[in-house]
């Protein structure tokens, strides 16, 4: 039996974010919200561990303007209950603030053996939350997990490294940060959706967590986010085939697209 905490982040659906045609800034307000893809992998892995070894899966989510529907979706996938902190102060939360808030919330939940989170988030890709949580709790953490097995009271993990797989083992409690390759998150069936409406979502106020001003102040300030402007050059070449090939090759080299 293992009790697992899964950290979920509500992000904008980046596939549906369009840059402003003039400022090129992402129009986040217009994009629908979703649970970060990596976090759904974390939830799926937690559910698979629970199905094999028993225990319970508790989803936690901290952020600003969190939509209950998304949390219900996690419950429909199979989480047993959820804890949510939704507060305007968390709108600009960076990895530090997010990890401090999550840790304070997790401390309120009681006994757990394993924390699972996505290795990064869909919107900011900072790769911070998992390692920071492990530091706060002073427990082992394993990142880039592509496979995980509970074994002899600990967890054995296959880590994706450049050019190979690194197999490591850690004692519990531990933090595991998973990548997209680890599994395919399940779709909740209609019966699971129906069952989710009866599962508890605990709303916790940020003020109840006893966090200091320092813990709630982001360490990183985002100065600017802009889309890359892609424009066609519309270069027209004229001449005989040999001459054209020569000219094209020169342009490709000149633009750095092909190395000499």
């Amino acid at each position: 039996m293992v009790d697992i905490i899964v950290c979920l982040k509500q992000t904008a659906d980046v596939n549906q974010v369009r840059p402003h045609p003039e400022t090129l800034e992402p129009q986040l307000g217009q994009a629908p919200r979703k649970i970060s893809d990596f976090d759904l992998n974390a939830l799926e892995e937690a559910l698979r561990i629970k199905e094999k070894h028993g225990g319970r899966v508790v989803a936690v989510c901290v952020g600003h303007d969190i939509q209950q529907l998304l949390i219900r979706e996690a419950l429909a996938m199979g989480a047993d209950e959820a804890y949510v902190v939704s507060d305007p102060r968390l709108e600009k939360a960076d990895g530090l603030v997010t990890a401090e808030t999550l840790a304070a919330l997790i401390k309120k939940i009681g006994k757990w053996d394993l924390i699972l989170c996505g290795e990064a988030s869909l919107d900011e890709s900072a790769y911070q939350t998992g390692p920071r949580l492990a530091e706060i709790f002073n427990i082992p953490h394993i990142t880039y997990a592509v496979r995980a097995e509970l074994e002899d009271g600990g967890i054995k993990v296959w880590k994706a490294m450049e050019g190979g797989i690194h197999v490591v083992k850690a004692s519990l409690p531990a933090v595991l940060a998973v990548g997209l390759e680890i599994n395919t998150p399940r779709l909740p069936s209609l019966l699971m959706i129906r069952a989710a409406s009866r599962k508890p979502i605990h709303e916790v106020k940020l003020s109840e967590l006893g966090l200091s001003e320092e813990q709630l102040t982001p360490a990183v300030e985002t100065l600017q986010v802009k889309a890359l402007k892609v424009e066609r050059r519309r270069i027209t070449l004229e001449g005989e085939p040999e001459e054209l090939a020569q000219k094209l090759a020169e342009i490709l080299v000149q633009e750095g697209l092909v190395k000499k």
């Binding site: 209950q68 529907l69 219900r72 979706e73 429909a76 909740p188 209609l190 019966l191 959706i193 409406s197």
Partner: protein
Amino acid sequence: MNFSEDEDVQLLRRTIAEFMKGFPAEYWRRHDSLREFPRDFWDAAARNGLLGITIPEEYGGAGLGMYAAAVAMNEVARNGGGLAAGDLLMRTLVFGGLLINKHASREAKEKYLPKLAEGKIICAFAHTEPNAGVNTFDIQTKAVKKDGGFVVNGQKIWITLAHMADLIIGVVRTTPKDKVQRKSHGISLLLIDAKQPGVKTSRIPGMALRALPSNQVYFEDVWVPEENVVGEVDRGWETLTVLLNAERISTASISLGCGEYALQRAVEYASNRLVFGRPIGSNQAIQFPLAEAKAELEVAKLMTLKAAWLHDQGLDCAVEANIAALQAARAAFKAADRAVQTFGGMGFAEENDIERVFRDVRLFRTAPVPEEMVLNFIATRALGLPRSF
């Protein structure tokens, strides 16, 4: 008034949108082209509970109503499944689930509902006949009482999927028209085991819904036990009208889904296709018809969901369901037509899926009931004008 949807229904929408990513346009194109039953979709829909939306929990379903069913049919269609995906849900959720659950005997519910929810039964609705057209009172398929059941003889036409069906919901005469006081009397609804040797089918290759072919059906001394009568013997007309209202809401929801899909594809194309150095969508000649299509689809959607809501409250929804079916089919046809025009020559290429949607959305302007008959109904029932027939 309150337009907010239940959390269950919102989750259903999101889940179906994700679910349909497993069945992209190529999947539906291939099955349409080969006229092949979309078996993988059917099995996956069953596994995910989509075939049990209207079936009570005690029989393995979710116990939701017409509103949720309408949403599901709309979502599978608008996420690329089009008419074929929508129709597959309709036959199980409405012809099967709603009808059997509301009007059939306990034996029939126990026998059919769990299998319907699991996708183990395909059902077909056999109403129209070659010699009756849209006039149900003139149907000639008859069922004669014998030894605790009925013996059915007759023929039906335009019966989708009858060649694969396990169960046919048949509309039959149990008392001849000349022996009843009112012409609506003497009609019954039967649950017919379609695997009997006396049930014969012959396919009619057609323009629309090619993955789910239509059929002529012949009943030759087909046996139906008494417990398979839906509602009361000879009083099937009352049950049939309730079913037909649910069918109108379903066709409206599917039409809307197809129209929304066509519109979305047209908008994408208009935004990306450059002619004279700018996207064709920046031309008002392209924009305005697409904007009109959007407006008309949205208005039709309001009426469709209102009809579904009335249905779930047990209130009369006949006028609303008919208006919804009429307007949704027209709006979808217009959206698909504008999509073809926006795509230009590419709209005719099978690989772009627009021509398939165009062929498919034409169906619900003619079937299951032609829009002229819907207008007749609105004129007489909602406006109180005298009948023309």
